[in-house]
Amino acid sequence: MAMQVNGFFNRVATIPTVPTKHPRRVATGLVAIILAISASITVAELKPEPIPNVKSIATPYPATYAVVQDFAFSGLIDSKFSLVDTHSQRFMGMMSAGQFATIDFSVPRQKFYVGETVHSRGARGTREDLITVYDFENLGIVAEIELPPKRMNVVTKKSSTAITDDDKFLLVFNMNPATSVTVIDLDSEQVVGEIQTPGCTLLYPDNARGFFTLCGNGGLVHITLDDQGNESNRWSSETFNDIDNDPLSEKAERIGDTWYLITYKGEVQPIHVDGKHPRIGERWWLANKAERDNNWRPAAWHGKATHQNGQLWVAMTPNGYNGSHKDPASHVWQYDVATQKRTNTTELKTPGVSIAVSQGTADDPPRLLVVNIEAALDIYEAQTGQYMHSITALGDTPYMVHAID
């Protein structure tokens, strides 16, 4: 496209019925001639395009990418993870998955690790459990790690799997219904071991090469791994979790070396994982007594998010009751965990199912990401709660969002 003629360009190129250099439509008359000239200069015949042609994604990812999980409740065997750019609102690509899938990712390795259960003939046949490894650049499968076929099949929970803090091992929680953890070496992409966790469930990594797991007796068990991924130490806490009266939700987030668990009624329980064993921190309430009496409680499927600068976001409902702990959330409350003070409250544009917060950069400040009850992803400025925009058509039942940064 060498030049434009007197501003004709835009108009010519967008009017559907403009005459062109097509040989059977020879233009006559002044106006037609002008149009024909401008077209011949500005509009070139389109060339054949290559087949095949498959896109890749520029890496490293910007701070604005997120993954939304379609749990696909209406067709559980065909779930998916969609990679979206929360800035441009573009859909970057997807990864199909089997039922009750999980996702982890390693930025150093530039890989996603999708946990999935499939059957050889759709809803029947031989069950296989897999960690399917995708590269960031192509969302292409680079490995399929076969697991003992007992990974926990549960409505999506972030703590079903985890990568150890040293980026060495991927841990997959099992329930058949006996409970254990499969250990995968991320260098060899092989299963290297299994750790029994009788009476205890889910995984919360510590700051080294270990994790704790929450137990049905109200305590936790902490397990340390050696270089080969075998259990090298095990420690049990005292009971600190009153499961019958006000249990700690298993949906937790972390800032630095501290996990933040929150009870159904809204009491925050820090658990510090910076030492040889976890330390059970001092509790504090999200809401004051009056608010609690007015039934403000934590809500949403996964209603917690954190920023490493010390901020915690919690999805809330003013309509709390016994059983409201998974209800959609109408608000998000924001805290400074150092002072335990609420720093902001946001009324959501549309009630939320799950939330996440991106860490952001100087150019892309942190965003609050909310998958809502209308199956869209709403994007807010995390600090102000200002609504920015949405990404729609993310599947049947998008139940979880992960910031990928």
Partner: protein, 178 residues
């Protein structure tokens, strides 16, 4: 651990109570609304949203009152899933061609007809994909998944030929111990 052993342990712990809320703003609203094609209306009541025109049913037994195709049927106090009564089964039977899971989670629900608390076993039906009808999620006394037998998030199609979930039943195991 046998099912009975598990249950005796479970009944020591579970405190599920009376549950009669029928038009709760459930988390399930998302799918419920999607099924009804009314996603623009948030927080629709579960039972109405997910299957607006399912014909009413009855157990035929006045001692077991209510409509097992609705989410407020008394046995469903701890259920999470598609109601088998809307899927070709019933409140205590799986649909044809599926397999009932041998292990499961339980709740304690109060029968309004006799005022007694019953231990209800929410056996999943397995081997066909999601029924997709009458999604019902009630979380009274639902505990986190680290107490699995009192948590309704788990797919209990374990020990069945296929691990694929179709719908959920609510089977009477017996009277709850006081």
């Amino acid at each position: 651990m046998s099912l009975l052993d598990r249950l005796s342990k479970i009944t020591e712990h579970t405190t599920r109570g009376i549950a009669q809320r029928s038009s709760r703003r459930g988390f399930v609203g998302l799918l419920g609304a999607a099924l009804a094609g009314t996603a623009a209306i948030p927080l629709l009541p579960v039972a109405r949203a997910s299957s607006p025109t399912v014909p009413s049913q009855s157990t035929g037994n006045p001692a077991d009152p209510g409509d097992p195709t609705t989410c407020d049927y008394w046995r469903y106090c701890g259920i999470d899933g598609f109601l088998c009564s809307c899927c070709g089964g019933s409140q205590n039977a799986c649909p044809p061609g599926t397999e009932m899971s041998p292990i499961t989670w339980v709740g304690t629900c109060r029968n309004p007809a006799d005022g007694l608390n019953y231990v209800i076993s929410y056996n999943d039906c397995c081997g066909k994909s999601s029924c997709g009808r009458c999604l019902c999620n009630r979380n009274e006394d639902d505990r986190p998944v680290y107490r699995p037998a009192a948590n309704n998030d788990i797919n209990w199609c374990i020990g069945t030929d296929s691990g694929v979930y179709n719908c959920s039943t609510a089977v009477i195991l017996g009277l709850a111990t006081e």
